[in-house]
């Protein structure tokens, strides 16, 4: 039986929750996104503050990530036009809603991915 009617189990086989998953990973998978979200978790932070806290990310990339996250509505950018203009980013509700999922992956990683492994 090399000719099992492949009329099913093809495109329909996957496509369960993958479309959504793919879209999520399209930006969650970017190099610093998760870290940025992690740094924002404790509370609001300014650009330079994040830059320092993360350490190793360039302004341009940080700026990109922050923009993407803002576009997706995961973080909010607030400008305080006081004499010294100040800006701070913080998680939105949508962003917070993602935290549990991130935690779960993090937990899984700790349990199943020893850091010593290649």
């Amino acid at each position: 039986m090399a000719l099992e009617p492949p009329t099913h189990a093809d495109a329909a086989a996957c496509e369960r929750g993958d479309a959504a998953l793919s879209r999520a990973f399209s930006f969650l998978g970017k190099r610093w996104t998760a870290v940025v979200l992690g740094c924002l978790r404790p509370g609001p932070a300014g650009f330079r503050e994040l830059s320092r806290a993360i350490g190793g990310v360039s302004d341009s990339v940080l700026s990109d990530r922050l923009s993407e996250l803002t576009e997706q509505g995961l973080v909010a950018r607030t400008v305080d036009e006081g004499p010294p203009v100040a800006v701070f980013y913080e998680l939105t509700e949508r962003g917070r809603a993602l935290m549990p999922a991130l935690d779960q992956i993090s937990t899984w990683a700790r349990e199943h991915l020893s850091q010593g492994e290649a």
Copy 2:
């Protein structure tokens, strides 16, 4: 008070669960990884079968993803040396352990990321 001693809240500010998270995303974030895992969820599948089911992925990339996943112990590669050599991939326990997390992200994406949005 522009000089709040920044001696704290710097490097230590993030680095909570991010190291693990980053490692997880280092391969979960790759373009087809999540989809492959999703396709493997229902049960074992052969290379060509996956290729067809996913549709849009090239052999080379699929091969890569499968190798990475196998290395990480998320999927198992079994060879059946029967007369017609057959190979099939399937999720390991470690791989299955990740499913709930993936589901959670998927759910989050469905709820907070309308596909119509940019």
